[in-house]
Subunit: 205 residues, 2 copies
């Protein structure tokens, strides 16, 4: 019944997490595998069925309890290579960005539309919420690794625009392992643009 | 920090629900207001944090427990007027389609992209999952109201294509009342098309 959706396949280069017990509460560290449930990665500090509204959702009063659609951060190795090139540094590691999954082979990952699904071989399925807009935090981590280079923190925000990956949430629990093949399924294509003026004549009272 | 997103405002003509206790387990009935929590409309038979995979998500084995992104059904009065016109019947009621919310004044509602938010005045916020693809069920209800007209059930599927509304889930709990102004916020525009061939040269090992 659903419209067949186009798909492609990438693979998972790295799986990373950051527990509340980590000394550095932003950067993630590589692990061989993680378990995901409906709240996110078990043990990761971003896991939760709900979260408190912050600066990323300014349309809600700060602290409002909302559904957590930012359970995981997903980045593309190819995009991180481009960011590093722009910044003139040898590399930008997924861990420095606090990412949980580093994919290879999905072109223009950050441009995948909301509603895109990532399918993993051991049942886990993620839904993409949207772009993870870059802020200065990861830039500071990069700068800390290159103390001789000034201004990397603020330059990161521009360099990583539309290349900092996506955030998403778990649709189906399961296991995610480094090396997994990852099938990417796009939602059916839609086009919608706002009408230039409300078409009152079409309204039905 | 997030990109400002375009928005428009419609209004809520009708709120409807169907409890498990209803004699007809598909059609909904009008109520003045409903409370929504993270599971959906309190008391509605489609509410739930999770649901079992069915024919609408054939990429999951039937019965798999997945997150429930089909908590509410949202339709457009203008689109239902078009469906009725195509079928040659006086009207197609939102209740016949088992809809929960009937909006007026949102052009091409069914074409809104996944990730679109609907904001209600009393805190409730919904996120659109995507199009609710028409099946023969509502067509049978329409046919039952017009016993003199044959073939309406199967004709409904074609007539309602891309006009049967959307399904979605609750991002923020609250109250939804008939007559509410409904602000519609689109996600930032994205364009993504599958590459014609994998660009191996861009991969970084």
């Amino acid at each position: 019944m659903p419209t067949p959706a186009p798909s492609l396949t990438g693979h998972l280069a790295n799986v990373l997490l950051c527990t509340d017990a980590e000394p550095k509460r932003f950067v993630t560290r590589e692990v061989p595998e993680v378990t995901v449930d409906f709240a996110g990665i078990v043990g990761d500090r971003h896991a939760g069925l709900t979260r408190k509204a912050d600066v990323r959702v300014p349309w809600f009063p700060k602290g409002t309890l909302i559904r957590n659609t930012r359970q995981l951060s997903i980045v593309s190795r190819e995009e991180l290579v481009e960011v590093a090139r722009t910044l003139g540094v040898p590399h930008v590691l997924a861990s420095w960005l606090g990412a949980n999954l580093e994919l290879v082979g999905v072109p223009r990952l950050t441009h995948l539309p909301p509603g895109t699904r990532l399918f993993f071989p051991e049942e886990a399925t993620l839904v993409m919420e949207g772009e993870n807009q870059p802020c200065v935090g990861p830039g500071r981590v990069i700068e800390a690794h290159h103390p001789d280079r000034k201004g990397l923190a603020s330059r990161f925000v521009k360099a990583a625009w539309q290349k900092r990956g996506l955030v998403g949430w778990v649709e189906r629990p399961g296991l995610i392992r480094a090396g997994d093949a990852v099938r990417v399924m796009l939602p059916p294509p839609v086009t919608y643009s706002l009408p230039s003026a409300p078409s009152e004549s079409e309204e039905v009272g």
